[in-house]
C-alpha cells in the first residue's frame, strides 16, 4: 500500500511536469492549466487553514483535478494581505481563497480597502458553528445560570476569551453583553486552540469556541457546552461524551439568550474570471463534498453543512455583510 503511494506521488509529479510542456491541451470545458494557489487569509493551524489543507489532501487523494492545489497562508493584517492579493490578481483563474468572517470584519475594523464585491463569489462550503463553553468545574450547568451570574456580577467581572480583536468572537461577546445587560471582559488570543486551553486552565470564565476547537476537551470532561448560537440544534446525533451528542446542546435562543451567529467557510476567486472558470470550481467542490471523508470531517467539526452557489450565495453574503455592519457599528468597532 505504502509503496503504491510513493509511486503515485511520483506519477503525480510526472503528470505535473507533462502538463508543463503542453499548456494548451485541447478540451471542451475550462480546466486549470497550472497549480492552483489556495490562499488562506489566516495563519497555519487555524480552522480555515485546516479546512483548506484538508481539501488539498482530498483533491489529491481522489484525483479530482489534474493540477495540484497549493495552500498559501497570507495572514498579515487580520487576513487583509490575502484578500488584497486575490483582489489584485484580476483575471487569474488559478487562484482561489477560503474565507472566514474576516471577509467582512477586517475592512470594517481596519479600513483596509477591500470588499467581497471585489472578488468573484464561488460557493459556500459550510457554516462554522459557535458554542458557548464554560469550564466543567464551574458551577454553571445551564445558559440561564451563567447569564444570571453575569447579570448579578460587577461589570467586567466575567472574562470571555476569543480569537483576535473586533472579529467574530468579540462580536458575539458584545451581542451577548447586550442581551444580558452587563459587561464582560473580552480577552483576545491568537488562536482558537489557545482559547480553549486557557478555559481548561481556568484563566478565563467562558469562550465561544468553534466545535472543532474544543471537542477534545469536552470529551475529556474538562469543558462543558452551554448552548449553540444557531437557530436549530446541530444535526449530529453521535454521542461525543458518555451522555451527550452535538444534537443535545440547546440553542442559545431557547435558553433566553437571543444571539445567533455562524461563520462563513466560503470560496472566492479573483475579479474578472469567466463563468466557465467559476463553474469548474463549483463542480470541483461538489465532488469534494460528495466524498465520505468530507462527511466525516463536517461531522467531527459539527459544521452546518449548507452548500450554496450563484445567486443564493451572493444574496447570503450581501445579507451577512449587512448584519456584520450593524453588529460592528453597535459595538463601535468601525474604523474611523
Amino acid at each position: 500500500m505504502d509503496r503504491q503511494l510513493i509511486c503515485r506521488s511520483l506519477a503525480a509529479a510526472g503528470v505535473a511536469a507533462a502538463f508543463a510542456v503542453t499548456p494548451f491541451a485541447a478540451s471542451a470545458a475550462w480546466e486549470p492549466t497550472k497549480p492552483v494557489e489556495f490562499v488562506v487569509p489566516a495563519g497555519t493551524g487555524g480552522g480555515a487553514d485546516q479546512m483548506a489543507r484538508f481539501i488539498q489532501g482530498l483533491v489529491a487523494k481522489n484525483n479530482l483535478m489534474k493540477q495540484p492545489i497549493i495552500v498559501v497562508n497570507k495572514s498579515g493584517g487580520a487576513g487583509a494581505e490575502g484578500f488584497l492579493d486575490v483582489k489584485s490578481s484580476k483575471g487569474d483563474p488559478n487562484k482561489i481563497i477560503i474565507t472566514l468572517s474576516n471577509l467582512f470584519t477586517t475592512p470594517l475594523a481596519t479600513g483596509v480597502p477591500f470588499n467581497w464585491k471585489d472578488l468573484t463569489p464561488v460557493a459556500m462550503l459550510a457554516l462554522d458553528e459557535f458554542v458557548l463553553w464554560v469550564n466543567a468545574e464551574s458551577p454553571y450547568k445551564t445558559t440561564t445560570e451563567y447569564m444570571t451570574a453575569i447579570k448579578g456580577g460587577s461589570a467586567g467581572q466575567f472574562k470571555m476569551g476569543g480569537t483576535g480583536s473586533k472579529q467574530e468572537d468579540q462580536i458575539i461577546t458584545v451581542a451577548l453583553e447586550k442581551s444580558v445587560g452587563n459587561k464582560m471582559t473580552y480577552i483576545p488570543f491568537k488562536g482558537g486552540g489557545a482559547v480553549a486551553v486557557q478555559l481548561v486552565g481556568k484563566h478565563i470564565d467562558s469562550s465561544v469556541n468553534n466545535p472543532i476547537e474544543a471537542v477534545a476537551h469536552w470529551r475529556s470532561g474538562a469543558l462543558r457546552p452551554l448552548c449553540v448560537f444557531d437557530s436549530a440544534p446541530m444535526p449530529y446525533p453521535t454521542k461525543i461524551t458518555a451522555t451527550q451528542s452535538w444534537q443535545d446542546i440547546p440553542t442559545c435562543k431557547s435558553q433566553g439568550l437571543a444571539v445567533e451567529y455562524q461563520m462563513l467557510r466560503g470560496i472566492f476567486m479573483p475579479p474578472g474570471v469567466t463563468q466557465e472558470q467559476v463553474d469548474f470550481y463549483i463542480d470541483l467542490f461538489k465532488k469534494v463534498r460528495a466524498t465520505p471523508d468530507w462527511k466525516k470531517f463536517t461531522e467531527d467539526g459539527a459544521f452546518n453543512n449548507t452548500f450554496m452557489v450563484g445567486k443564493d450565495f451572493v444574496e447570503w453574503v450581501t445579507k451577512a455583510e449587512g448584519t456584520h455592519k450593524t453588529l460592528m457599528q453597535e459595538a463601535g468597532f468601525i474604523a474611523k
Binding site: A16, A17, A20, P23, T33, K34, P35, P68, I70
Partner: protein, 169 residues
C-alpha cells in the same frame, strides 16, 4: 576598522557614517512617536492602549540616537583619523551591493529563476573571472535545482515572469 594615523584620500570617515545612522535612528523614533499618538498613548482603565509601548520605545530610540550624535560631535576631533571604509575596500562591497540591488529589481520584473541565472552567471564571469562554460553551467544548474525543489517537490510558488509563463507555469 583600520585607524592608521592620517586618513587616506577617498576614504569615508567613521564620524560621518556614525552621525548619519544616529540621525536615522532619531527620525525612526520620531515616526514611531507620531504614529503612537494617532492610536492613543494613554493607559486605559483596562491596561495600556495601542500606542503606549511604541510611544515609550520611540522616545528612548530618539533619545539614544540624539545621545550618539552628541557624543560623536563631542569627540569630533579625536575621531578624525577613524576610517569607516577605504576606497579599495568599498569597491568590492559596491561590486556586491549594486548587482544585488539590480538582482532584486530583476526578480520583481522577470521572476526569480531567470534573474538568478543572470545574476549568478554575470557575477561568476565578471567578478570571479570564471570561464564561460563554468559560469553558464552553475548559472543554469542552480535555478533549475531550485525550481525542481520548490515548485515541483515542495509546491512552494516563487515569483515567476514571462519566461515561466511561456513554459506553462
Amino acid at each position: 576598522m583600520a585607524s592608521n594615523g592620517k586618513q587616506p584620500a577617498g576614504a569615508i570617515a567613521t564620524r560621518w557614517v556614525e552621525i548619519g545612522v544616529a540621525v536615522a535612528l532619531v527620525v525612526v523614533g520620531a515616526i514611531v512617536i507620531l504614529d503612537s499618538h494617532r492610536v492613543g498613548v494613554g493607559w486605559a482603565p483596562d491596561g495600556p492602549r495601542s500606542g503606549y509601548f511604541p510611544n515609550i520605545i520611540g522616545w528612548i530610540l530618539a533619545a539614544v540616537g540624539a545621545w550618539i550624535v552628541g557624543e560623536t560631535v563631542y569627540r569630533w576631533k579625536s575621531l578624525e583619523s577613524k576610517v569607516f571604509v577605504e576606497r579599495e575596500q568599498l569597491k568590492p562591497v559596491l561590486q556586491m551591493l549594486l548587482p544585488t540591488i539590480a538582482y532584486v529589481a530583476l526578480v520583481a520584473l522577470i521572476g526569480i529563476y531567470v534573474a538568478s541565472m543572470i545574476y549568478i552567471g554575470a557575477f561568476m564571469r565578471v567578478q570571479g573571472r570564471f570561464g564561460w562554460l563554468k559560469s553558464l553551467a552553475v548559472a543554469i544548474a542552480v535555478p533549475v535545482a531550485i525550481f525542481l525543489l520548490f515548485e515541483i517537490w515542495f509546491l512552494v510558488p516563487l515569483p515567476k515572469g514571462p519566461v515561466e509563463n511561456l513554459l506553462g507555469y
